[in-house]
């Protein structure tokens, strides 16, 4: 699709599948991660990716940007990174004798915030405004962010020394927390073969990907996603899941209403990805882990017992009744 007319539902199905296939050409394995990131894009959310280095996070973002011909920006978060390094700053121009705004890397479609927890809270908070309000304030002047705008922040689960854990409020801004794990043996073999055959560099390039649409078409796709039908029973199911997390014994605090909203939005995107024009309880259930895992906190006892958040959430899901009709 190259014209910016609103696509039909069938066109949207086809577009999404093409995007999946295009990203799949360079991103070997990690299909679940690709799907979740696509869901976040369709649902207009941001993603927190957690995984050890070298699993193709940058490649994924590049590939996604290339898919819709969008801009891609990357910030490597370090302890000395300043907020203005993220947003941009005003610069006095001697020639024109006026202040010029130099826009920061945040003015992009897809922003990869690498190792976000390495920067202090002040710099992390600079991202908050743009993530929530889709606007950036430089020297008191608001600037709108590009559309679509999506932040993919990464965290390294090891090497926690000298990091600043993201505050709850900021974590809540991320629609999904995606865990990226090592590829399977076959996938890794395929990956090694693909990277080493006929290439000089040791990274995969996104040249193989051709743009499926323009960046300006993405909002239309997001609008279609937002109009996927959701039955009352499914709404009820999603809300019940989130509410159960607040009383669940394994959690010291559960997820807020933003989680219910995110859950339904992701479920809608999931349905679109499954080429359905309606959401089933399965879409909700499958999205629950990624949507809730960063919004709940385990109790101290559970942490001492070595229970993982995902385990507790899975256990909780077993106690939530599926929709009754």
């Amino acid at each position: 699709m190259t014209d910016s007319a609103t696509p039909t539902l069938e066109q949207a199905f086809a577009l999404v599948q093409t995007m999946r296939a295009q990203i799949g050409r360079v991103m070997v394995g990690q299909q679940a991660v690709v799907d979740q990131v696509l869901c976040a894009l369709l649902a207009s959310g941001h993603v927190l990716v957690e995984g050890v280095p070298g699993l193709g996070k940058t490649l994924l973002v590049k590939a996604l940007a290339k898919c819709f011909d969008g801009h891609f920006g990357r910030i490597q978060f370090t302890p000395d990174l300043m907020p203005s390094d993220v947003t941009g700053h005003a610069l006095y121009d001697m020639k024109t004798e006026s202040f010029k705004i130099r826009k920061g890397p945040v003015f992009t479609h897809l922003l990869l915030a690498d190792e976000i927890n390495r920067a202090p809270a002040k710099t992390q908070a600079a991202l908050l405004e743009v993530m929530q309000e889709k606007q950036i304030t430089i020297e008191g002047k608001p600037f709108p962010a590009l559309t679509p705008f999506m932040v993919l922040a990464t965290q390294n689960p090891i090497e926690q020394e000298g990091t600043y854990p993201l505050p709850e409020a900021e974590l809540d801004r991320f629609m999904l927390k995606v865990l990226i794990d090592y590829p399977s043996e076959q996938e890794e073999q395929a990956l090694v073969r693909q990277v080493t055959t006929g290439r000089v560099q040791d990274t995969l390039s996104v040249d193989a990907i051709s743009a499926v649409m323009k960046a300006s078409d993405v909002p239309a796709l997001q609008a279609i996603t937002a109009n996927i039908a959701v039955d009352d029973a499914v709404f009820d199911y999603a809300v019940r899941i989130v509410r159960t997390s607040r009383q669940w014994h394994s959690f010291s605090h559960g997820a807020g209403p933003r989680a219910s909203i995110a859950l339904i939005r992701v479920a809608r995107a999931q349905a679109l990805l499954q080429q359905r024009n309606f959401v089933t309880p399965d879409d909700v259930k499958q999205s629950t882990l990624a949507t809730l895992r960063h919004r709940v906190a385990l109790t101290a006892e559970m942490e001492i017992e070595g229970v993982k958040t995902d385990q507790a959430l899975t256990q909780m899901l077993q106690e939530v009744e599926a929709p009754r009709l």
Partner: protein, 511 residues
Amino acid sequence: MDLGKITARVRPRNPHEAADLGIVMARQWFRPLLLLGVLPSFPLMLLLFILFYDQPWWAALILWWLKPLWETLQLQFIAEALFNPQMQWRTVMQQARQHLFHDFFAKLLVQRWSLSRSFNMPVGELERLKGSARSRRLSTLHRDASSTSVWLTLLGNTIEGLLVLGLFGIVWMLVPMKLEVDFEFADLLDSPFLFPTLAWGAYVAMALVSPFYVCSGFMLYINRRTWLEAWDIELTFRQLASKPLQTSSNGAAVLLLLALPLLMLPTSESRAADTLTPEQSQQQIIEILEGDDFNEMKEKKGLRWIDPERRNEKQDDAKEDSFIARQLKKLRNWLRNSATVATVLDWLGALPKLLEALLWGTVIALLAYLIYRFRHMIAPGWLGEASLAKAARPTHLFGLELNQKSLPDDMLTHARALWQQQRQREALSLLYRAALSQLVHQDHLPLEDCHTESECVTLCRKQVDAPRTAYFQLLTRHWITLAYAHQLPDNASFEQLCQQWPTFAASGVNV
């Protein structure tokens, strides 16, 4: 064993003196004793160290466990050397095999853990006693001196530990003062050389301490026998018997002359005894017993308790007692007669029993808790199966009544009738409900409330054959589309579902 050749001065000593004598002996024969310890153990240690290269503490531990083997050799040597100072260690080495493997398993398994091992060893190794004979002998010997041998073991262990620390200390002290050693104590703990060094240090300490340990234990044993069998007296007699003969041969004639009247004496006495009647003898015995020799009077002063029976008899004496003694007696009487005190004493008497019961209760409760807590490790699926069985037949799923009784007898006709009446949702719901009921009751599918529709299909795929799964999948798809997308299936699809139903239900009972 010829007591006459003993090289140590034999006299009854207290256990500490005996152990001390053992130390002196170990110093005297330190070289052969050390060789006897190191020669068999060093190759073994080297082998074990190579075998357990990654975990060198295993080598030290195994060597420690095998220690009684070469201590046997050391014991054999010292036992011989005590009577024969010219004893060579090579002689013991030549007989090493029979000494090492004598009572091998008992030495390493049962006797290994005794704290008085050094003291017990001679009984097994030198007297060659086994089983009940050994334990009887030990019980006789243990009445005294065993506590010293226990302390000897503990002291030996402590010295071994101190030696290991000392070895490290020496290395530390030998580091020149001007050399700036810049590392933390924790770095030392992480060092890959730590455990090998510790293992070898422990080995050296064991080798150095064992001669002293063996000799002290052996001397404790010899001392105990000196007490029991009066070796010192025997030796004195022997010396008495041999001295005159050795010093002057003509003295023997004098001795004989002197001894003659003595030799005569028993004869005259026995002749006198023959003339006495038993009564006379009795009388004589009584006279002798009443004589001064048997009735020495001694006066002792002190405080002591008097039996209650004798209290009355002694009441008069009590008046003469000191004030403190009177007060103590009063206190004693009050304690004996007071009911409260008796109850308290009874209660206190029952306290150990109570504590024991409490302790056992705690142990049992703890065990029960541990079994419950780690039940999934002990018997996986133990509780899981129980809960599965419980949940195996839910009566409701997704708000649908699944009880077979709640379904109409002729389900298909009923469903078709509902479809005709434009109550399509009810018709499809009935069909889906019947299918679920079939899966739950006939195929024993472990469906739970939390399972979504597609999870039911996945479970069905695992347990039910392909054609039936395909039917259930189709039915589920229609049901989901109707329920969540509010899209009705067309008549043909519904009719197809109805027609295939009997095949699906065929394996179960007629619904």
